[in-house]
């Protein structure tokens, strides 16, 4: 039985009249990577930011290791949570303070949490973190502008690792990088996950990269999770028409198939009945009315499966 490290229950995040996240529920298991995909405005980044408490949520519950994240009792408990869960941001240019050296960026958390006060020991730990992300010890004294985009993202990763977290939210960590550098960073994340038994929530719009890095995938659309399942279920047996449309739009480096490709447009259906989450097969969840899900599932079984 897999261990639930994070439970999101009926999460709502509204900004005025905008329902950015509109009642979503999912679990993340220890040691896995859950990919959260969707287009701009789908609410995927808001979900990540709500979980790590960058926002106070409108409604619902986020449980980390069984404890409510948004109802922390004391400062000490909040600090403990902050050490456990860390975030990697999209833009490696905006997320590093230009007036701090790489070493200072990485060590900022040590000051806040009162760790590694011994100077020599601290220097050693910073050096080890830099090496863990494929940089070297000498880089500690350099400023952000002296690094390339890929190297900056490595510093962002080292910072996220500095407090020895168990759970990392990576919000589009590779979108701003070149293709060959993306592969380097993704490989690094995978290796770190294996070595440190990390759990990842990987937020992205690049579906082929999400498929590659994720064990399970949740597809978001208009503030709702429309489909959730293993990477294989989502890519080879999608049920929700929005997922099918999204998959049909991924361009592949294969000219013959691209020439024949037909894209499936997504046309939302008018529904009167209540829409809820259905488990079509074990571990594969689809959002819709009873009638919709039954019909979509039948369509998928008949072999309308994307290869």
């Amino acid at each position: 039985m897999q261990n639930k490290i994070l439970e999101v229950k009926n999460l709502h995040q509204h900004f005025g009249s905008i329902r950015a996240v509109d009642g979503i529920s999912f679990d993340v298991f220890e040691g896995e990577t859950l990919g959260l995909v969707g287009e701009s405005g789908s609410g995927k980044s808001t979900t990540g930011r709500s979980i790590i408490r960058l926002y106070d949520i409108t409604d619902g519950q986020v449980l980390y290791k069984g404890e409510d994240v948004h109802n922390k009792k004391s400062k000490a408990e909040q600090m403990k949570f902050n050490r456990e869960m860390q975030m990697i941001f999209q833009d490696p240019y905006a997320s590093l303070n230009p007036r701090m050296t790489a070493g200072e960026v990485i060590a900022e958390g040590f000051d806040i949490h009162g760790l590694h006060k011994d100077k020599k020991k601290r220097k050693d730990i910073i050096g080890k973190l830099l090496e863990a992300v494929g940089l070297n010890r000498e880089h500690a004294n350099r400023y952000a502008h002296e690094f390339s985009g890929g190297q900056r993202q490595r510093i962002g990763i080292a910072r996220a690792l500095s407090l020895n977290p168990s759970f990392i939210i990576a919000d589009e960590p590779i979108s701003a990088l070149d293709v060959s550098i993306q592969a380097q960073v993704v490989n690094l994340l995978k290796e770190l996950q294996r070595e440190r038994n990390l759990t990842f929530l990987f937020i992205a719009h690049d579906l082929s990269m999400v498929k590659y890095i994720s064990d399970r995938i949740a597809v978001m659309h208009h503030g709702k999770i429309v489909e959730l399942g293993t990477a294989d279920m989502i890519y080879h047996h999608p049920v929700h028409p929005y997922t099918k449309s999204l998959l049909s739009a991924i361009p592949l480096p294969d000219p013959i198939s691209e020439a024949k490709r037909t894209r499936i447009p997504y046309v939302p259906e008018e529904v009167k009945e209540e829409q809820t989450v259905h488990e079509v097969i074990q571990g594969h969840f689809v959002f819709g009315s009873d009638e919709q899900v039954k019909r979509w599932h039948a369509d998928t079984k008949e072999g309308h499966i994307l290869d």
């Binding site: 287009e39 701009s40 390339s148 985009g149 890929g150 070149d178 293709v179 060959s180 550098i181 993306q182 592969a183 380097q184 993704v186 490989n187 995978k190 290796e191 719009h205 579906l207 082929s208 990269m209 498929k211 590659y212 890095i213 994720s214 064990d215 990477a231 890519y235 449309s245 999204l246 049909s248 739009a249 991924i250 361009p251 592949l252 480096p253 294969d254 000219p255 013959i256 198939s257 691209e258 020439a259 024949k260 490709r261 894209r263 447009p265 997504y266 290869d307």
Partner: protein, 353 residues
Amino acid sequence: MAETILEVKNLKINFKTYAGTVQAVRGVNFTLEKGKTLAIVGESGSGKSVTSNALMKLIPQPPGIYADGQILFEGRDLVKYTEKEMTKVRGNEIAMIFQDPMTALNPTMKIGKQIMEVILKHKKGTTKDMAKKRAIELLDQVGIPYPEKRFGQYPHEFSGGMRQRVVIAIALAADPKLLIADEPTTALDVTIQAQIIELMKEIQRNSNTSIIFITHDLGVVANVADYVAVMYAGQIVEYGSVNEVFYNPKHPYTWGLLGSMPDLENKSDELLRTIPGSPPDLIHPPKGDAFAARNEFAMQIDYEQEPPMFEISPTHSAKTWLLHPDAPKIDVPEEVQKRIDGYLAKGENTDAE
């Protein structure tokens, strides 16, 4: 042989900076046939955007310098054109679509007026009424619903995809012969990207426009291109038809690019193939092959002498010493070849159905 619309010969662009002279484009050669699409792929700093801006003479001088070469557009050398002569070419014969539709549009001007401006400037003898009619037609042609109503709206009233359609409408306003699109879909969501690409292909089918498509996304290239130029460190390192470059790649950098992109069949326990290191400093370009330091197959000669373009077929060539008859035989890396075989097998299967 199709008619050639553009021929670029040995184009070299430098930029003077305090740190020294950056050799951003270092001798680029290509030709484009009428009605065809050439995709230029490369990473940041490869010179792909400088090349496309150079074709439009959009390089600010100083600091930019056209150090050498010719840009022959229908036989006329644009490098020699004065700024005044260029204004007749720009937007009229060659039009450009930029990456970010929000910065390409004037936020304080209604979009209809922005389209009319181009028509009135480039089509002599057009009245305002005619221009308005044409602008509405163009909005309709690029797939904007309710064009009459949309004509009087400001850019902020449009979504990202719709804005990019407006930018395309402006680019088409003067019926250009050549369209240069610099990462036109990078800022858009995948489903919107698919629509914009379809639109550009449709325009090409209808008006036989030639297109230069700059992108870093190999999936997009496979979809849009007839020919592909792979750029690295200011040079074209591989050039060929889209099938040649994707199914029979010859340059190790192309192998690296193809390998670093996961496809949907990648097992998640395999690591992706990466290109180690980062691109060279173009103030002091390395001696020999600029890719040598990142090339696992580099030989002694790669550090000493720059390779020429070796011809593989009349349309396919690559700039690597590995193609020299005396070079050891190096095959396409296994994981890249496996993937190509998979694509080709799939292609045959669907043909048989």
